[in-house]
């Protein structure tokens, strides 16, 4: 379960202080899928970064299964991300020097999954995502949809408790994007993985159980379908 309590975050730039998040609070149950909706600059990415411990809020608490992840040391945060979190970024997501199989191998290596277990997991992921035969392909040889499917496969390779996707469909056409999001929801639901997707794509809002609207760093309201 993810509990977010009064989380605020400010950035300081040449334009002065910018409130990226202001007093954000909500709770998401384990295995739930959430869409963070809002326009560009509304604070979606900052909120995802705070949940994923990529950055710390200025104030407030984020509890992951009762554990305050904002109080973790940098090393503990890296370990938390390694074990508990999977990330899918907007684009250029894969490591370009590694083949598809090697990209999938990366989180498994980080989490100490080696040998036969590793090979089996990679084969299983490729089969699940319909990408068998792509093992030796380099990211540059894949289409946008294939790349994002591999990125998603990599994000869940080590079976994280939390999957954070930041605009995962931004570089895809609407059909491919919709298929990817459906796959994300279906797989996360079956694996009890809590899913956060940040998007400004209105078409995707119909696909989820829970949507959190952000505007200028504030939560507007909560809508359950």
């Amino acid at each position: 379960m993810i509990e977010i309590q009064n989380v605020s975050k400010q950035y300081t730039s040449g334009r002065g202080h910018i409130a990226a998040l202001t007093e954000i609070s909500f709770t998401v149950e384990a295995g739930e899928g959430v869409i963070l909706a809002g326009k560009s600059g509304s604070g979606k990415t900052t909120l995802l970064n705070c949940i994923g411990t990529l950055e710390s809020p200025d104030s407030g608490i984020i509890l992951c299964n009762g554990r305050d992840i904002c109080a973790l040391s940098p090393r503990q945060r890296a370990l938390f991300r390694r074990k508990e979190v999977g990330f899918v970024f907007q684009a250029s997501n894969l490591l370009p020097w590694l083949t598809v199989a090697e990209n999938l191998q990366f989180p498994l290596e980080l989490n100490g999954i080696y040998g036969t277990a590793q090979r089996q997991r990679i084969e299983e992921l490729l089969a699940t995502f319909g990408l068998s035969g792509f093992e030796k392909a380099l990211p540059g040889e894949l289409s946008g949809g294939e790349s994002q499917r591999i990125a998603f496969a990599r994000a869940i390779a080590h079976a994280p408790a939390l999957l954070l996707a930041d605009e995962p469909t931004a570089s895809l056409d609407s059909t491919t994007g919709r298929q990817l999001i459906e796959l994300m929801f279906s797989l996360c639901r079956s694996r009890q993985t809590t899913l956060f997707i940040a998007t400004h794509d209105q078409e995707l809002l119909e696909m989820t159980e829970k949507i959190l609207y952000l505007k200028d760093g504030r939560m507007e309201n909560r809508r359950c379908p």
């Binding site: 950055e55 370009p96 989180p107």
Partner: protein, 385 residues
Amino acid sequence: MRLGFLLKLSILILLRSWRATAVLSFMVISAVTALVFLSSLAVGTNDAMIRNSTGLFSGQITGSVDRASETLRLAIPGVERVLVRRHQQMLVWQDEAVEPILLMGVDPVAEKENTALWKKTVSGRYLLPGEEAIYLSEATAQRLNLSVGGKVQLGARPGTALKTLTVVGIYKTGITQLDQGMAFCPREAFPLADGSIAVAVFVQAGTSPDDIVAQYRHLVSAGTFTAWTEFMPDLQQLIDLDSICMAIVMVLVFAIVSVGISCAFLIFTLKNLREHGIMKAMGLMSGDTALLLVLQIGLLTLCAALLGTVTGVAAVTLCAHIGIDISAFTSHNQYFAVSGVLYPRLTATALFTPPLLALVFGLAAAVWPTLYIIRKNPADILRSV
């Protein structure tokens, strides 16, 4: 993370970013090649100076023994040739002109085979075995008003000649010790039966004359031996100076190259900044990130240094075979009295120092890009790229 996977990752990054790898490698390869060659050339230059200076007459070791039989004990491992000579200080005169000289009784065949004095003949020819002849320096011949074919008398004092010899050749070396007060005759024509016995020892390439002298001092108690390092301290200093200059050049070259590598590698790393951000976001620790970058630059430098060493060795081998003729620049230099051809020679120092320095400076060059990446927050990286 397993070291093996980080190593694999480093190799894949280098191989699959081959253009950047090639440019970075080229800097190291060219520096190592140049320095292996320059170091070997410096060794070759030193060799040439030693060869020229000792090969003219003295050998790498000069000495004197009390009995002729002692000379047989001097042929020990590491010694190529021992030339035995008789010598005596005496006077040489022609009409009223008198000159003090050190007359050397030599074996002309052995001398011609092992020394280069005969190549410095300016008039006439070198000695032949058994003939009643003398081989004089140009300066002595001028003072005695002699030319080839002239006759000179030798003895302890004018008027009591022990022997009369015919001048068959006149030489000029440009080296004061040989051009002033020395003359040569075949051993059979030497005027005295009991002249002192001198030896000139030629050691094999790579053998230290000082080591041979130390052995001689142990073997032959009734004799004195001096290595060229002692009787030519000026040459020893010149060689030491050459070594110091080479060391300074190597450090300077690699310091400059390492700054270049560091800048280029930082650009290479910045090009992959987003990927480093993604890896950090996935939980790659700072230590692993540092190790990944150090492995990359370490591998790159190691491979490039090895390749540079191979090309350097190839260049040295080629030039060692054909030689580099610098006679045009050494005609008035006493250390190149015989030949101005240099033959670069590989030594362990010349072979291993450049790649080792490249590796050390290469790893030092990794510090800046590594610190840059590990200090960056992954969110800042992903936001900025």
